[in-house]
C-alpha cells in the first residue's frame, strides 16, 4: 500500500521557453537549461562602448576562437547559481571544520620550523597567484560570449578569491592572527628571486587581451602545473615530512581542482572539436605560453621538491592536452 494524495492536474500550454524548445525539443527543461541558454543579449545593441568603440557591448570578436554556437560550452557540472553555491557551501563546511580542528588543537605547534618556514615561503605567497586567477576569470565573464561559459568563468573567479582567502588564513594560523607571516610571505612574493618568474607571469596575464587565450593560460596551463606542484606533490612532501595535518588545510583546493578540471577539460575539448582553425589557434597559444609558465614554476618546484617535480607536473599537463585532442 502507498498513500495517494489526489491533486488537480492542469494541462500546461507549453513545456518550456521557446528558445529552450528550439535547442532541446518540446519537453520539460532542466533549471540549468532555462537559467543558462540564450540569456545573454545578442542583437541590436544601442551604443558603442566608450572603452572599446570598435566592438559591440557583447561581441564574439573579442577572441580569436570562433564558435558556431557559443552555448556548445555546456558545463558538465551543470552549475547555475543555485547549484554552484550549494556545492561550494558543502565544501566550505568541511573546510571550516578542518581549519577549526587544526587551530583548536594547535596542530601548527607540532610542525618543525623547517616545515613552517616552507609553508610561509611557498604556500602562502600563492594567494597572490590565486588573486590573479580571480581577475583573469572575471575578465572572461566581462568580455566573453554566451552565458554557458561566462557564468562558469565567474564561478571559477569567485572560487579563486575564496582560495586566496583560505591561503591567507594559513598565514594567520602561523602568525597568531597578527598578519606578520602574511607580510613576510608578501615580501617573498615581491622580492625573492624564486618567486619573480611567477610574479612576472601573473603580471603578463593581467595585460593579456584575448579572453579565451587567458582562460587557456590561467585555467589550463597555470592551474594544471601549479595545482600539481603545490597541492598534490607538495602535500605528499608534507606527509613524508611529518606534516600530514597540513593536508587538512589543502583539501578544499584539491577537491576544487578536481571539480573545476572537469569543466575546463570539457571546454577545451569542445573548442578543439569545433574546427581546425580553433585547434591551430589553441596550439599556437599553448606553444607560446607553456614554456613561460614552466619557466616561472621551475625554480619554485625545484626548491620545494627537487628536480623531478616539474617533469611530473608536465606529464599531467600532457595528459590533459591529449585528452582535449591537442597536438595530435
Amino acid at each position: 500500500m502507498t498513500i495517494e494524495i489526489k491533486t488537480a492536474t492542469l494541462e500546461p500550454v507549453r513545456n518550456t521557453f521557446a528558445h529552450i524548445e528550439r535547442r532541446f525539443g518540446d519537453k520539460p527543461a532542466t533549471r540549468y537549461q532555462e537559467g543558462t541558454y540564450d540569456l545573454q543579449a545578442v542583437a541590436n545593441f544601442h551604443y558603442k562602448p566608450m572603452w572599446q568603440p570598435e566592438y559591440e557591448l557583447n561581441d564574439t570578436r573579442r577572441t580569436a576562437i570562433q564558435m558556431e554556437d557559443w552555448y556548445a560550452f555546456r558545463d558538465p557540472r551543470q552549475f547555475y547559481y543555485g547549484t554552484y553555491v550549494q556545492q561550494r557551501a558543502k565544501m566550505q563546511e568541511v573546510a571550516e571544520s578542518n581549519y577549526s580542528f587544526f587551530e583548536k588543537r594547535n596542530l601548527a605547534d607540532l610542525l618543525s620550523d623547517e616545515v613552517k618556514a616552507k609553508l610561509i615561503r611557498f604556500l602562502v605567497p600563492l594567494r597572490h597567484v590565486e588573486h590573479t586567477a580571480n581577475l583573469n576569470n572575471v575578465y572572461g565573464t566581462a568580455y566573453g560570449y554566451g552565458t554557458a561559459i561566462t557564468q562558469a568563468l565567474l564561478y571559477d573567479g569567485m572560487d579563486r578569491f575564496g582560495i586566496a582567502q583560505y591561503l591567507s588564513r594559513i598565514g594567520l594560523i602561523f602568525d597568531g592572527n597578527t598578519g606578520d607571516k602574511l607580510a613576510e610571505a608578501k615580501t617573498y612574493w615581491l622580492q625573492e628571486e624564486v618567486w619573480q618568474g611567477m610574479r612576472a607571469l601573473c603580471e603578463e596575464t593581467l595585460i593579456t587581451k584575448d579572453w579565451f587565450e587567458l582562460f587557456v593560460v590561467q585555467d589550463l596551463l597555470m592551474d594544471t602545473l601549479n595545482y600539481d606542484i603545490f597541492f598534490n606533490q607538495f602535500e605528499q612532501w608534507l606527509r613524508d615530512n611529518g606534516a600530514q595535518d597540513v593536508a587538512m588545510l589543502m583539501e578544499f583546493m584539491q577537491n576544487w581542482h578536481k571539480d573545476t578540471s572537469r569543466w575546463v577539460d570539457a571546454v577545451m575539448k569542445t573548442a578543439v572539436a569545433e574546427s581546425e582553425a580553433n585547434k591551430a589557434t589553441l596550439e599556437t597559444w599553448i606553444s607560446a605560453w607553456r614554456p613561460k609558465v614552466e619557466a616561472a614554476l621551475a625554480p619554485l618546484a625545484e626548491e620545494m621538491l627537487g628536480a623531478q617535480a616539474l617533469p611530473l607536473a608536465q606529464a599531467e599537463l600532457d595528459k590533459r592536452l591529449n585528452k582535449a585532442g591537442l597536438f595530435k
Binding site: P12, F17, Y47, Y81, V85, M91, A142, L154, D159, E203
Partner: protein
C-alpha cells in the same frame, strides 16, 4: 595564543593585501579604463569596504537562501500556485518583468563583472564581483520563478529574443546598454548609485509588492530572498559616491552631471512601473504618485540633504517629475492600450471600481483628462470597436518611449523637443532627454530605434504584422491584443469554473 581579529582587520588581511605594485608590466595597462572619464582617484586604500563578506561566508549564506527559495518554487509548481493569484490580468505585470527587467539583471551581472575586473582597488573590485554574482542569481531565480507561469500563460515564451527587439523593451534595454557602454565610474553612478540605491524602491520593490498583494507566491518569495542581496548593493552604491566625492574635488561636477542624467534616464524607465502599479495590479499596493512621494521625495530627499556636504545638489528636472506624477501612469497605459496589438502582454480598460480608485488617487487630473478617454474607449469596445492605433509611433531618441507624454502645463499638448546634430534633426520627449542628447550626441545618434528600424526594413518585414509575427515572434492573437477574450482569459475562466 592567537589574538582575536575584528572583522575589519580580518577582512583587510584576507582581501586587501592580495594586490601588489607591478614591477614587470605597466599597471595602467592591466587597469586601463580608470582615466578617460576624468575622475581622479588619488588613493584606493581609502575605500571603505561596504560589506566585509568573505567568500566562504558568502557561499554559506547564499546556499541557505537558495535552498529555501527553490523549495518554495517546487511547492508552487506542484500545487498549481498560478491559479491562486488574484486574477489572470495580474500575470501581465510579471510578463513585463520577465521580458523587461530580468534581462537587466543579466546586464547588471555583466556590468559589475566588468567593473569588478577594471577597478585597480581590490576592495572595490571584490564588492563589484560579488554583486555581479548576485545579479546572475537574480536573473536565474527570476527565470526559474516564472518558468511555471510560462507553462500556463502566453507572453513569456520568447523573453530574451523579445528583449533584444521589441519596441517598448528597447526602453529598458537601451537604458542598461547606455550604462554598460559608459566608463566604469559612470556605470557605478548610473547603476550602483542611481538605480540600485535611489530608485530601487520604485523599480524592483513595486513588482515584488505587487506579487505579495496579488497572491503570487513564487515572485514574492524571490523578492524576499533577494532582499539581503539588495541591501548589500545599496551600501555599495552609497560607498561609491562618497568615495568618489572624497577622493578629489574635481570629481564633483562630473558626478553631479551623472546623477542628473541617470535620475532622468531611470525615471523614464519607471514609466513602465508606474502604469504597472496603477493599471495592471488587480489588488493595488499604492499609486505611482504615492510611491514617488514616499520613495523619492521623502527618502531620496533626505539622502540628497546628506550629500549636500559634498556639494551635491538635487538632480535637474525633479520639479518636472513632481508635476508628471499626476499624469505619467495614465499616459503610459494609454500608449500601451493603443499599441496592444504590437505588445506581448494584454491591456484592458480599468473596471468601474478601478476607475474610481484612480479618481480618488489622482483627484486633480484623472477625472479631468483621463477618465473621459477611458470611458469612450470602453464604449467603443462594447460596441465591438476595440480601438488599436494602426500607425507606428515616433520615438524619443534617448529614452525611446513613444512621443505620447504631454506638456505639464497643458496636458492636451504632446511634448516635443529637438536638436540638430551634423545636419540631422533628432527628436525628444522632454527637456531631460534633450539635455542628455546634447551632452553626448555622438553616443545617442547610435540608438537602435525600433520604429526607425522597421521603416528601414531591418526587422525582416514589409508590413507590421510580419514584423510582429516573425521578427518579434509574438504569437498573434495569444500574446498580444485585448485581455478580454484572450486565451489567457479563457483558460483562467476554465480553471476557475466561471463562464
Amino acid at each position: 595564543m592567537a589574538t582575536k581579529l575584528n572583522i575589519k582587520d580580518k577582512y583587510r588581511l584576507l582581501t586587501r593585501d592580495l594586490d601588489w605594485d607591478f614591477d614587470y608590466q605597466d599597471r595602467k595597462e592591466a587597469f586601463p579604463q580608470e582615466d578617460f572619464e576624468g575622475i581622479k582617484i588619488t588613493d584606493w586604500s581609502k575605500w571603505e569596504d561596504p560589506f566585509r563578506l568573505t567568500m566562504d561566508a558568502y557561499w554559506k549564506y547564499q546556499a541557505e537562501k537558495e535552498k529555501k527559495l527553490y523549495a518554495i518554487f517546487d511547492a508552487f509548481s506542484q500545487n498549481n500556485g498560478h491559479v491562486n493569484v488574484t486574477d489572470a490580468r495580474y500575470v501581465n505585470a510579471i510578463k513585463l518583468f520577465l521580458t523587461g527587467v530580468s534581462p537587466l539583471e543579466y546586464q547588471a551581472h555583466q556590468g559589475f563583472a566588468a567593473v569588478g575586473r577594471q577597478f585597480s582597488g581590490v576592495g572595490a573590485r571584490v564588492a563589484c564581483q560579488m554583486q555581479s554574482l548576485d545579479e546572475l542569481r537574480h536573473v536565474q531565480t527570476q527565470v526559474h520563478a516564472m518558468s511555471h507561469y510560462n507553462k500556463f500563460f502566453d507572453g513569456f515564451h520568447e523573453f530574451p529574443h523579445m528583449h533584444d527587439r521589441v519596441w517598448y523593451l528597447s526602453v529598458p534595454k537601451s537604458f542598461f546598454d547606455d550604462a554598460r557602454s559608459a566608463g566604469p565610474f559612470e556605470f557605478m553612478i548610473a547603476i550602483g548609485f542611481s538605480f540600485e540605491y535611489v530608485l530601487t524602491n520604485l523599480l524592483f520593490v513595486p513588482f515584488m509588492s505587487g506579487a505579495a498583494y496579488n497572491g503570487d507566491m513564487a515572485t514574492v518569495t524571490f523578492g524576499f530572498s533577494a532582499q539581503s542581496d539588495e541591501a548589500r548593493h545599496m551600501t555599495l552604491g552609497l560607498e561609491v559616491i562618497k568615495f568618489l566625492l572624497e577622493q578629489h574635488e574635481d570629481n564633483l561636477p562630473i558626478v553631479q552631471k551623472w546623477i542628473n542624467k541617470w535620475l532622468w534616464r531611470g525615471y523614464r524607465v519607471l514609466a513602465l512601473v508606474a502604469m504597472m502599479m496603477d493599471y495592471m495590479l488587480p489588488n493595488k499596493v499604492m499609486s505611482w504618485k504615492e510611491a514617488w512621494e514616499v520613495y523619492f521625495e521623502d527618502a531620496a530627499g533626505s539622502l540628497f540633504k546628506d550629500l549636500a556636504r559634498y556639494g551635491i545638489v538635487m538632480p535637474d528636472y525633479v520639479e518636472t517629475i513632481a508635476k508628471e506624477k499626476e499624469h505619467l501612469s495614465h499616459q503610459a497605459w494609454w500608449i500601451f492600450y493603443n499599441f496592444t496589438h504590437a505588445s506581448a502582454f494584454h491591456t484592458w480598460i480599468p473596471s468601474a471600481k478601478e476607475l474610481d480608485w484612480l479618481s480618488e488617487k489622482y483627484p486633480s487630473t484623472f477625472d479631468q483628462y483621463y477618465r473621459p478617454r477611458f470611458e469612450l474607449a470602453a464604449e467603443m469596445e462594447k460596441a465591438g470597436e476595440r480601438f488599436y492605433c494602426s500607425g507606428l509611433p515616433q520615438l524619443c531618441q534617448v529614452c525611446q518611449i513613444p512621443m505620447g507624454f504631454t506638456e505639464m502645463d497643458n496636458p492636451t499638448l504632446i511634448s516635443y523637443r529637438d536638436s540638430v546634430y551634423k545636419d540631422d534633426r533628432y527628436h525628444f520627449c522632454s527637456d531631460g532627454c534633450k539635455t542628455i542628447f546634447d551632452d553626448e550626441p555622438e553616443k545617442y545618434v547610435h540608438s537602435w530605434l525600433p520604429v526607425q528600424q522597421i521603416f528601414q526594413g531591418n526587422c525582416g518585414g514589409a508590413d507590421v504584422e510580419t514584423v510582429l509575427k516573425d521578427y518579434y515572434r509574438i504569437n498573434m492573437g495569444a500574446d498580444n491584443m485585448e485581455y478580454a477574450g484572450s486565451p489567457d482569459d479563457l483558460r483562467w475562466k476554465a480553471w476557475k469554473g466561471v463562464a
